[in-house]
């Protein structure tokens, strides 16, 4: 397939259709509105269904219904709307249905603002909804990865019968990059658990599986433990000899990649660990790091440090862990380098 | 209605399903239903059918929330 220039949101939408997604129910909110806009024409073209729901609450429950019927279904939102999806996500997780969610992060709590940020980390990785569930959380750092990970998200949702999340941000969603799209795939909606009328067989109940599974506590813990062990994904850049390892995902990892290049050009041994899954956090990646590393620096575009807590746990505090916060402003890659140098100088 | 047709159907009841609400007694047009002194396994006073008065209209079937009554061919 040839490369095309596509906006992150558009490319992700097309990739969802090509991954066999045939239902979208959702509500516009900047900076993810291109997703419902794109799917409003593309879904019917592909034989699927698009509904502009009256609210995120309704949209997520339409997804619940379509997923219960056995079809690949998704919705997307941002910040305030993502908060409204949490109720439905908890139910879908509890019913052990596959579905894909997209949160294109924007800045701030409350209304906040529409520019890029990474402030939904806790909500995404800890489960913004109630009870005992987790979502596999994928953090694309490019338009191409938005495409690639949406396929993975659908496949993993099916494999574990569990909702999965693409945690994007306004930068990745709004920017254009060349992208290669995958071939169209069709999904068989007739799983044995899918509601479609009982047709002479015992009737099916899609509800919290805890009602029907013995020793549910052990069962559900086992399921999420298995995911945590098997599904960690990351990319590491020059960490084996690094004195300072940056940890960053999504758009901030792009800035950190540049920082690594700049630093290496100056003889500063900087490396980068880029989590591709945020849950499970790729703790295994830290085994690749130079055992003599002098510090970790968690680079996050939020006002409060969040991912840094996972970094501290994953590195077992074998080296100091510091934070570099972008907040409302895109940091300069050179400022990250300066910070790393300052950390090293302070240790001398 | 001939005599033989009248006796070809009869109302039956599954007393174990009864919750003793008495809605059937209120609605029976022939006063054929009444609370008995029998208590079922759920602890409810169940309803007796006076088959002499019963005309098999099945209103008790229609109003019963608990599917106690059925009209069956004899």
């Amino acid at each position: 397939m040839s490369r095309q220039l596509m906006k992150g949101n558009d490319a992700l939408s097309e990739a969802a259709v090509r991954a066999g997604c045939r239902f979208f129910g959702g509500y516009p909110i900047t900076p993810q509105s291109e997703i419902p806009e794109y799917l409003s024409w593309r879904m019917p073209e592909a034989g699927g269904t698009f509904i502009q729901a009256e609210s995120e609450l309704s949209g997520v429950n339409m997804v619940y219904g379509a997923a219960a019927a056995g079809f690949r279904a998704m919705t997307s939102s941002s910040g305030p709307g993502f908060s409204l999806l949490q109720e439905g996500i908890s139910y879908i997780a509890s019913a052990e249905l596959p579905a894909v969610f997209v949160d294109v992060q924007r800045y701030g709590s409350g209304l906040g603002d529409i520019f890029q940020a990474q402030g939904d980390y806790w909500q995404a990785t800890r489960g913004g909804g109630h009870g005992d569930y987790r979502m596999l959380v994928y953090a694309p750092a490019s338009v191409q990865e938005s495409v690639d990970l949406v396929s993975v998200a659908f496949d993993k949702a099916d494999q574990y019968r569990n909702p999965t999340l693409i945690l994007s941000d306004a930068s990745i969603a709004q920017m254009m990059e060349p992208v290669t799209l995958p071939e169209m795939r069709e999904h068989d909606p007739n799983a044995d658990w899918a509601v479609r009328g009982k047709h002479g067989k015992p009737f099916k109940r899609v509800t919290s599986t805890m009602y029907y599974i013995e020793d549910f506590d052990a069962y559900i813990k086992g399921k999420y433990d298995e995911m945590a062990e098997a599904e960690q994904r990351w990319e590491s850049v020059r960490v084996d000899d690094a004195d300072v390892v940056l940890v960053a995902y999504g758009i901030s990892s792009r800035i950190c990649r540049e920082a690594v290049e700049i630093a290496r050009g100056r003889g500063v041994r900087l490396g980068l660990l880029r989590p591709i899954t945020l849950w499970p956090f790729p703790a295994k990646a830290f085994a690749e790091v130079n055992p003599l590393v002098k510090a970790y620096l968690s680079v996050e575009l939020s006002a409060l440090p969040k991912m840094v807590e996972d970094v501290r746990l994953a590195c077992e505090m074998k080296a100091p862990v510091e934070t570099f916060l972008g907040g409302a402003h895109i940091p300069e890659s050179s400022a990250i380098v300066e910070r790393a140098v300052a950390i090293l100088n302070a240790q001398r | 209605m001939t005599g033989s047709e009248k006796t070809s159907a009869r109302m039956t009841q599954n007393r174990e399903l009864c919750k003793g609400c008495g809605y059937c007694i209120l609605q029976c047009p022939k006063d054929a239903l009444s609370f008995s002194s029998t208590v079922n396994r759920k602890g409810y006073n169940v309803v007796d059918i006076d088959q002499e008065k019963c005309i098999q209209c099945a209103i008790c079937y229609t109003v019963c929330p608990d599917s106690v009554f059925e009209r069956v061919e004899a």
């Binding site: 900047t30 930068s171 254009m176 060349p178 758009i251 792009r254 990649r257 540049e258 300069e332 | -």
Partner: protein, 178 residues
């Protein structure tokens, strides 16, 4: 790698100019990132987009030092001129940019893009004149090849105007003469 900002007011085709630059660069095998300003700015005022174009995959799509600025109006030149790297290029639409106070450590190419587009009876083609100037000034892609790319882009959309190419080539010439 080149870091380019296109800026002007809404309706001047600023985002389209950036898109064309990105599309045609991609067709000639380059790596690109294109980042729009969006949101409240969609409702008037200054619109801008920033591109990075290079031979290697682009790491950071953001930059603070601009290699080339396409300034379609006075506001955008006032806003972004200070961010141009020393030795960088400013393509100024001199039909609209008459402030005159240009930095002396940058190369300034003044092109009366709006007037040229008007002369060519293609008033919406001012952005293409500016694009021609940036290609002429930077040598990013061969000018004829780029012009073919513009034709292909608009043909694909089913609405190519032969005057688009003419606007573009006039921009190329303007840069050559500057």
């Amino acid at each position: 790698m080149l870091s380019i900002t296109c800026a002007g007011f809404g309706g001047q085709g600023v985002l389209t100019a950036g898109l064309l630059l990105a599309h045609v660069s991609m067709e000639s095998g380059k790596e690109i990132t294109w980042v729009p300003s969006y949101g409240s700015e969609m409702r008037g005022g200054t619109a801008s987009c920033r591109l990075r174009i290079g031979d290697e995959p682009i790491l950071n799509p953001f930059f603070s030092a601009i290699d080339a600025l396409i300034g379609m109006n006075q506001d955008s030149v006032d806003t972004f001129q200070g961010a141009i790297a020393p030795g960088g290029v400013l393509i100024a639409n001199s039909s609209m940019v008459r402030g005159g106070a240009f930095r002396d450590d940058i190369r300034v190419v003044e092109v009366p893009a709006t007037e040229i587009a008007g002369e060519l009876k293609n008033p919406r083609g001012a952005n293409l004149v500016m694009l021609g100037a940036v290609i002429g000034a930077t040598g990013l892609v061969d000018a004829e090849e780029f012009a073919d790319g513009i034709d292909a882009y608009f043909n694909k959309k089913g609405r190519n105007n032969p005057l688009n190419r003419e606007c573009f080539m006039r921009g190329v010439q303007a840069a050559a003469n500057a």
